[in-house]
Subunit: 455 residues, 2 copies
Amino acid sequence: MPHVVIIGGSDAGIAAALRARELDPASEVTIVVADRYPNFSICGLPFYLSGEVGDWHALAHRTVLEIENEGVRLLLDHTATSIDPIAKVASLSNREGSTQNLMYDRLIIGTGAESIRPKIDGIDLPGVFVLRWMDEAFAMQRYMNERQPRSAIVVGGGYIGMEMADALTYQGIDVTVVEFFDSVLTTVDPEFSGKVRTELEAHGVRIATGIAVTGIVPSGDKLVISGSNNFSAAGDMVLVAVDARPNSRLALSAGVETGLKGAIKVDRFMRTSVPDIFAAGDCVETWHRLLNSYTYMPLGTTAHKQGRVAGENAVGGNRKFQGSLGTQAVKIFDLVAARTGLRDPEASAAGFDPFTVEFETWDHKAYYPGAEELFIRLTGNRTGKELLGAQMLGHKRSEVSKRIDVFASAIYNRMRIDELNDLDLSYTPPLSSPWDPIQMSAQAWSRRLSELIPH
Amino acid sequence: MPHVVIIGGSDAGIAAALRARELDPASEVTIVVADRYPNFSICGLPFYLSGEVGDWHALAHRTVLEIENEGVRLLLDHTATSIDPIAKVASLSNREGSTQNLMYDRLIIGTGAESIRPKIDGIDLPGVFVLRWMDEAFAMQRYMNERQPRSAIVVGGGYIGMEMADALTYQGIDVTVVEFFDSVLTTVDPEFSGKVRTELEAHGVRIATGIAVTGIVPSGDKLVISGSNNFSAAGDMVLVAVDARPNSRLALSAGVETGLKGAIKVDRFMRTSVPDIFAAGDCVETWHRLLNSYTYMPLGTTAHKQGRVAGENAVGGNRKFQGSLGTQAVKIFDLVAARTGLRDPEASAAGFDPFTVEFETWDHKAYYPGAEELFIRLTGNRTGKELLGAQMLGHKRSEVSKRIDVFASAIYNRMRIDELNDLDLSYTPPLSSPWDPIQMSAQAWSRRLSELIPH
C-alpha cells in the first residue's frame, strides 16, 4: 500500500493519480494543488475569456468530488516548498502560511510551466496580463468586466496569442497582435502562417511582425506599447503571451537533474535522477519519437500521457512513454492549423534529408455543397521515403485535426509516405474523396520527388 | 512499349490507366468504356438525385479531355464481348453493333458490379429503378422530372437505400424504406442501426423491417408493394437497392477463375488465373488484411487501390495490394455512421476471441459550444488485445469519418488497443479532448475487460 504523493493538480498530476488508483486500488494517492482548481482545462481559458464558455466551473474536466470518488486525496491551496529525498518528505505550506510535512513512498512532480514575463518596462502595470492558470484568467476577466476594454494588444503570435486574438475579437474588442518574428504562428511553415495572418486580418485583427517590444507606459486610460522600428500602439489592455518555461524549482530542491530550458530530466519511464521521484508534464523534458532525443515541448496531450505512465510506474508498473510527435491543432476564427512530426528545417537539423511538398485540394468532393480548400505540407525523407511530418490548414469543419491524426498514427508506426496509399481510409462524398487528401498529398510528394530524379 | 487494354472506365479502370501512364510514359493505354461517362463518381449519384449537385457533369472526377491529356486513349460506348487470352485479343462492339478486335499485351478487367434485380413480380414496371450507373440515374431523374413523385418506396436499407432515403426526402418526397432484415444498415451493430433508424424517422422517413417484398403492382398512378406479414405500401416510384454482384461475364469468356459470389479470383498482385490478365475493383474478390483471406466487398476506395496496383504491375511493376479493412462511412441526414475492421460476430466467425465495448462521449470538450454525442463500439481480441474493429456514430460535423481512419491506420499497423493511448493525437477544445474519444474508448475497453477478469 504505497503512498504516492503528487505535486500539481493539472493534466499530468491528475492523470497520474487516476492511473495509480486504477491499477492499485490499495494505493494511497495525495495530490498537492497550488490553487483550488484541480483538473481544470487551462486550454479552455481563451474560450472562457471569449464568453463562449459562460461558467468557468464548466472548465473542470472533473469536479473535486469526482476526483475524490476515485479515492484520490486532494490538498487544495497547498504549495510544496521543498523535498527531502532521503527522508522522503515533502514540505508543504498553505496560503495562510502554516506548514506540514508529507511522507511519500513515491513522489510525482507535475508542477507544470509558467508564463514568461519578459523584462520590458511596464510589464507589471495594471491592465497587463499573462495567461496560464485559472487565477490569471480570473484577474483578466475581472479587469474586462470592470473596464470594458474596447481595444487590446496581444504580445506574441503563438498558439495562445492567436486563440486570444480570436477570443477578444469575439468579445467585440479591437485587437492588435505584436510578434517578434517575421510571421505569426511560427510553429508552421511561413506559407501557412501567411494564410493564418490573412484569416486574422479578415476578422479585423491588426498584425505587426518583426517587432521587439521595448516598453509599456500608461497614457490617460490607455496603455501604450512601444517597440523596435518605432513601433507604437495603444490599447485598453495588454496580454503578454510570449513563451513558457518549466517550473522546476521544487525538483531542484530535491537535487533532481534538469536539462533543456531548465526542464526536469526524466527517462522513458518518467523517473527523475533521484530514486522514487517521477516527473511528468510541462515541467519535464519530453522524449521525441522521431528525433530519438529529448526536447522541451509543453503540450496538454503529452502531459496526460506522461502522467499516466508516471502513475502506473509509481505503483510498480513498467510502462514506457512512447514519445511525442509534437502533434497539435489550433482553431483561429474559421481556420484550423495542425501539425505533427517534423518540419523541413527541423528534420534537416536532426540529420534527415527532408523533402517537403505542398498540396492543395478540397476537403471533400467538390460537387457536394460546402467543399472547402485544404492545404497539406508533407515532409518526408528523401532516402528512405519515410514520412517525417505533416502540416495541414483548412476550415474548422474540414476534419483537419483528425486528418493530421492519421498522419500522426502513420509516423508513430514509421510508415513510408508511399504506404499511406495502402491505408484503407473511409470515403463518402460529403466528407472526403476516394483517395483521401492525405493520400493525394502522398502521391503528390512521390511524384514531385521522382520528377527531380533524372530517369 | 506495352499496350495495356483496360475494360471498364470507372474507379479501378481509371486508376489503373493513370498509374500505368505515370510509371511508364512509353506505355500505350486504352480504356474501353461501356457508356460515355468514364471516371464518374457513382458514389455521388444520391446527391445528384437529391438536387444538391445541380449539374451531373460535376460528378466526373476528371473530364474526358483530362484523361486523354494523361496519354490515355478512351473508347467510349464500347463493350468488350469476349477475350481470347491465347491470341491476346479483346473483341469489342459499339452501340451501333459494329465490332472490332483490340490486341493487348496486358489486359485489366475492371467491369465492376451490377445491381441485383431480385425476382419479384413487377420489378420491370415503369417507375421501378435500380441505381448504380449513370444511365440508371438519368432514367430515374427523367422520371422524377416528368412525374414529380410525391412518394417513393426504397427496397433495401443498406448504404444506397439510406442515402437515397435522405436524398428523396431532401427533394420533398415522402419515403418508405422496406428492409428484409430486422434493422436497416446491417453493416453496423444493431445498437447503431437503431440510432440510424431514429434519425431517419425524425426526418419523416417510414421504416418497415423484416419484410420480404413479394411483388409490385400498378394501382392507378401508384405502384403498390406487397410483402410478408401482409405488408403493403403505395408510392409514386420504387427504388430497388438490395445488393450488387460482380460483373464477371467477360472474365469467364477468357477462362478466368471466379470464386465468391462469382467474383474474379486474383492474387495480391491483382493477377487473375490467366497470364497477362489482371482484374481490379468491384468485379474481383478482395483480400482482407485482418481476415487474411478473400471476401467480396465492393467499395470505391478499394477499387481505386486495386486499380492502381494492377496498373503498376501491368507495366512491369511488382506492387502488392495491402488489403482492405472494409472501412466505410455514410452520411444519413445529420448523422455519420462509419466502421473499419471486424464486428464482433465477424471476428468470432474468423476464429478470433472478440470482446466489444460501447463507449459514449462528446466529440469535443463539452464546455465549448456545439458539442455532440459520439458513440464508439470497439472490438478487440481478448487474448492478444489487438484492435480488430471500430464502429462510430455521430454528427456529420464530429470528424467521425477521419476518427474511424485513425482506427483504420491502427489496425493496418496491427496495434494493440492499449497502444492507442500512446498515439500523439491532436487536441484543441473546439475539436477534441486531451485524450481523444478514440483513446477514451480504448481505455474503456481495457477497463471493462479487466473488470471481467478476477484479480
